[in-house]
């Protein structure tokens, strides 16, 4: 019975999963530069910035229960904060941090009214959507010369181009090489992923999940749920801002499209397809959907297919067929598989008891192997 328990626990361990995912990222960190394919590295850096954006949404929606329909606003704010700051300072260290600080402050301001005003989920979704659209139209209309912050012009719908990339801290002339930019981005992805995992395992993270599970009970226990929701929202905004800043370092360019509805909707799709309530799911959802849109966009599919149409279909299929998303569904299958395997093994073991003593040992050994147990020494070993 205890053996059954241990094998069950092995199937249930989500903690091992964390290290596997982080391990894969570390392996990629070392292997990809060795391949000596600059185009691949560039491509991967784009994916990394989007994955970090997906993680920010996975955190606030899947664990904090905050349905933010405008997560792209923090992505855009982070990007613009970096672009404007680096244009002024001519150095990237402070802008890098501002790319997280500015969205976080904006989230604190917006979140204060939403969460301390006790707005429910639907209103939070609508307000965040409205705010990101407001920012989109505002930035779009700033092409005039009068819209400058310090030395940097906002440029309106034209977008800001040839933005300086990262340099080594303190030395504005030493720009990071392509490889270093990759190391930096990948390192930040690993830090974000592991950091979120650690946060979720901490007391703070456990309370956050409790608030999502049952806000009333959390409050009746004496937790100030408004503060926890605000904190989650702000952390999510900072991470999205980081993604925005990394994305600029990939394409040297930012336009109001960063605030656009299509990006806001895509972020939600990544989480939905990958699985709400997991971190790995949205990573997978993000990579898969980006790749799909890449294929559709380059016309490798034969062309003529509308990306948004396909995305709409994908989301509909997921909502109808696998509403939980990829990762939770796979997890269920694995548990189910484990259950069937254990049931079959149990049948084999009880069958072994019925057999004549001479042929009992190998059948029993087979059953035990199915259960995933090492054959007990002195048992089948003696006879075989």
């Amino acid at each position: 019975m205890t053996d059954l328990m241990t094998s069950f626990r092995r199937f249930d361990s989500s903690r091992h999963g964390t290290w596997v995912v982080a391990g894969v990222m570390v392996v990629l960190l070392f292997i990809l530069p060795v391949l000596d394919d600059p185009l691949l590295l560039l491509q991967v850096r784009y994916y990394i910035s989007m994955i970090i954006l997906a993680l920010s949404m996975a955190f606030i929606w899947g664990f904090g229960g905050i349905m933010c329909f405008g997560q792209s606003m923090f992505f855009g704010l982070g990007g613009y904060a970096y672009a404007i700051a680096v244009g002024n300072f001519g150095e990237s260290t402070a802008p890098f941090f501002l790319a997280m600080i500015v969205p976080a402050l904006f989230a604190a301001f917006l979140g204060y009214f939403m969460f301390f005003g006790r707005l429910n989920d639907v209103y939070v979704a609508v307000i965040t959507l409205a705010v990101t659209l407001a920012l989109y139209y505002f930035i779009n209309s700033t092409s005039g010369d009068e819209y400058t912050i310090g030395k940097a012009r906002l440029m309106g719908f034209n977008g800001i181009s040839s933005i300086r990339k990262f340099n080594w801290p303190g030395d504005s002339t030493a720009l990071l090489s392509a490889n270093h930019l990759f190391y930096f981005a990948m390192g930040l992805l690993i830090a974000t992923y592991v950091g979120l995992k650690l946060l979720l395992g901490s007391t703070f993270g456990r309370v956050v999940v409790a608030v999502k599970e049952n806000e009333l009970r959390a409050e009746l226990l004496g937790y100030d749920v408004r503060l926890y929701k605000l904190a989650v929202f702000v952390i999510g905004a900072a991470i999205a801002g980081l993604a925005g800043c990394l994305s600029i370092n990939y394409k040297n360019f930012i336009s109001p499209n960063a605030f656009h509805l299509s990006l806001a909707a895509q972020i939600i799709m990544w989480v939905l397809v990958g699985g709400v309530g997991t971190l790995l799911g949205p990573i997978i959802g993000c990579v898969v959907l980006l790749y799909v849109s890449f294929i559709l966009g380059t016309g490798a599919s034969g062309g003529g297919l509308n990306t948004y149409l396909i995305f709409g279909l994908i989301v509909m299929i997921f909502v109808l067929v696998i509403p939980q998303g990829i990762v939770p569904t796979l997890r269920d299958w694995r548990e189910q598989g484990g259950r069937y395997r254990r049931m079959t093994a149990g049948a084999v073991l009880s069958m072994a008891e019925q057999l004549p003593a001479s042929s009992r040992a190998p059948v029993r050994a087979f059953g035990e192997r199915m259960l995933g147990l090492a054959p007990p020494s002195g048992h089948s070993g003696n006879k075989g």
Partner: protein, 241 residues
């Protein structure tokens, strides 16, 4: 102040929903360490009264005092921190989390992680859920979920505990255990219990308050209440009062 040993007092507490007055000008008072039963027909305003005390509803009028302090303007989590715990009518638990996590979240509110772990194990033992520590609360039977909620409330070591129908959905044995547990809890905290099960009330009651139409109808010992004609009329639906 002579009222030093009064743990809870309401003055003119009123809760209106549009034209409906669910709680009507209630002056309620109870002492430290008291075990008070609250009965009354459906719709008498008992649960609404509880919700006003814990600020799940903002009272339309009146004041609430807890240990001499005016808590009328406190919000829910502040009231909880003052030491009022509540078991709601429909169990309010973390359905998606394990039994252990449910209790732990309550323990961690007041203690450091290591102490919280220890207290969690003790409470789970005390409410008899040792066999289900790792199970999701949402998958437990209704009676067991009631136990989880009791455990959550107990863990907070409140000075005053409000129990809204604690034996709903429990078997006879479980009701017996709840009765024992409530007596045990009463040694450390004052309690207000809302219940429809008269056998259960008889078993635990000291003083009973009868609610009717949002007002206090009578307040007396259980024996007197049972023989009170007014109370009988109210329960049997005669047009009294």
């Amino acid at each position: 102040m002579a009222e030093n040993d009064v743990i809870l007092e309401t003055r003119g507490l009123t809760m209106r929903f549009g034209g409906v007055v669910a709680v009507n000008n209630v002056d309620f008072s109870m002492k430290e360490g008291e075990l008070r039963c609250l009965i009354g027909p459906n719709g008498a305003g008992k649960s609404t009264f509880f919700k006003c005390l814990t600020r799940q509803y903002k009272p339309s009028a009146g004041q609430v005092f807890f240990r001499g302090a005016d808590i009328t303007s406190d919000i829910t989590f502040q009231i909880a921190r003052r030491g009022i715990g509540i078991k709601t009518q429909v169990p309010s638990v973390f359905d998606g989390l394990s039994v252990h996590e449910n209790i732990w979240l309550s323990a961690r509110r007041h203690h450091k992680t290591r102490a919280a772990n220890k207290i969690t194990d003790q409470i789970i033992e005390r409410v008899g859920l040792g066999h289900a520590t790792k199970q999701l609360v949402g998958r437990l039977a209704h009676g067991e979920r009631q136990w989880v909620e009791l455990g959550i409330v107990l863990t907070g070591e409140p000075k005053l505990i409000l129990l809204d129908e604690p034996t709903a959905g429990m078997t006879g044995d479980e009701v017996g255990r709840t009765t024992e547990l409530i007596r045990e809890i009463n040694r450390q905290a004052a309690l207000i219990v809302v219940e429809h099960d008269m056998q259960f009330i008889k078993a635990i009651a000291q003083k009973v308050t009868v609610f009717h139409h949002g007002q206090i109808l009578v307040e007396d010992t259980m024996i007197n209440i049972l023989s009170n004609q007014q109370v009988r009329d109210v329960y049997l639906g005669k047009h009294a009062v």
